[in-house]
């Protein structure tokens, strides 16, 4: 019995309820929203980015006309499966802690011969006229870690330092509103307007949040990466613009990714 048939089975139950109002009471709004989200899981448009990203990954591109298939994401050249679940990490060749996006930029420069500026151009897409290759590449690589447990290490001193810097940045308050990440994400069971806010200082909150990015944003019709999520949080914090793959973005990602350790990675996801 296939998924469609099973879903039809459930649908029939809903319709029966329609004609037998006494049998089933009113479902709560929360239950119905959960049902809405469940219905979107089957056929996540993020897959369109994954397909395009895999194609881009394997295409010979850039001045050197080579693919990214020999890119070392931390598992040795060519290792993609499970790579994202161990990022960010320290890379000796760059002598720097890197998140996925930083490492893709590194490979585009070192392997494909792009300039750093070209590799970082257009990190976030906007409609079909301004598609971001980076988001597609990120969608592909992250999809290859689906189901794998987060396992971000703090072995190298620079990894330990990045984690501590990320924690400081998380609690850093500034700007005209005195906001920091912790303003919205430092306590349990809070919401902004009707939107639930994960408590990123706790393991459960960090796991739930970190393992579900990138995500296809229904409200925007775009796939959004974790770099984008951080960028847009700082916009709403009234900070200046966070630079793509900057040290602060990587340190903050290290703090949040490490806090998510132990949870099965489950993205690209789909969100409101």
């Amino acid at each position: 019995m296939g998924a469609v048939q099973r879903r039809i089975g459930r649908g029939t139950a809903i319709v029966l309820a329609l004609f037998a109002p006494v049998v089933l009471g009113q479902g709560s709004v929360v239950d119905e929203i959960a049902k809405y989200r469940a219905a979107l899981q089957d056929g996540n448009p993020a897959e369109l980015w994954e397909v395009r990203g895999e194609d881009l990954w394997k295409q010979k591109r850039g001045p050197n006309a080579v693919s990214l298939e020999r890119c070392d994401l931390g598992l040795g050249p060519g290792g993609v499966k499970g790579a994202y679940a161990q990022l960010p990490k320290y890379f000796a060749d760059a002598d720097r802690v890197m998140d996925l996006e930083s490492r893709i930029v590194w490979c585009m420069v070192k392997l494909q011969g792009y300039t750093d500026a070209d590799a970082k151009r257009n990190p976030f897409g906007a409609g079909n006229d301004k598609k971001a290759d980076m988001e597609a590449l990120v969608a592909y690589v992250t999809s290859e870690s689906r189901g794998i447990r987060m396992n971000v290490g703090l072995n190298h001193p620079k990894e330990q330092e990045a984690y501590r810097l990320g924690e400081k940045i998380f609690f850093y308050r500034g700007g005209p509103h005195d906001f920091g990440c912790a303003t919205c994400h430092g306590d349990d069971n809070k919401r902004i307007r009707l939107q639930d806010l994960p408590n990123l200082t706790k393991t459960e909150g960090a796991q739930k949040a970190y393992t579900t990015w990138p995500a296809y944003r229904v409200s925007q019709g775009e796939l959004r990466s974790f770099q984008w999520r951080l960028n847009d949080c700082f916009r709403q914090q009234r900070f200046p613009e966070l630079e793509f793959t900057s040290d602060a973005s990587v340190a903050l990602t290290m703090f949040l990714a490490r806090n998510a350790n132990g949870a099965a990675y489950d993205a690209p996801a789909i969100k409101r």
Binding site: P157, K158, Q160, E161, R164, L165, E167, K168, I169, F171, Y172, R173, G174, G175, P176, H177, D178, F179, G180, A182, T183, C184, G186, D187, N189, K190, R191, I192, R193, L194, Q195, L197, T201, F234, R235, Q236, R238, F239, P240, E241, L242, E243, S246, D247, A248, S249, A251
Partner: protein, 210 residues
Amino acid sequence: MHRRHLTFALCAALGCAGILVGCATAPSDAEISAKAAAMLKASFKERGQAKLDRLDQDDTQKTCSEYAGRVPPKDVVDRIEKVNLASIRWPADGKFLGDWKSGEKIAQEGRGKQYSDDPAGPVGANCYACHQLAPQEVSYGTIGPSLYQFAKVRGYGLEIQKYAYGKVFNPEAYAACTLMPRFGHNGILTEQQIKDVVALLMDPASPVNK
């Protein structure tokens, strides 16, 4: 402390990062804080109305960041509240209440001060993002306490009006390291806008007090 000085002296003398990694103790909390602040400066770029000086912290922001969500010790709380209370500019006309209807609009308005916002456009207080106010608005946040029936339970008197004005102008004067923005102190809202928001909280005709 002694040992770290020694390490730095040694490394400075030899000019080698490798030894630093090999022999240094982990950097202190203060060192990490200073490095994080410098890292932020290097990681952001100005955009629209959001310039890099927004990353500069005043003493309140810096101190509250250091306590990382925990309540600071009493002497620190007293210091922050004293400084912020002294900075409040009270209305010259001695009146605290404006128009609650304008206040409701300001409480609903989420735009303002973001680099994506028009600098000439509206700047709101976005109260509903964090607080329940008028019961008609069901889309409210819970980061701050419910303010429904604010004056009905506290009283409509001048002292409460003054407290409400001061709290919106500079909440750090009353609760050190609160999550609430200092709307007057930081120049987010004008005096008139604050009066209007206070009216939303205090006016007997406001839906908040129904």
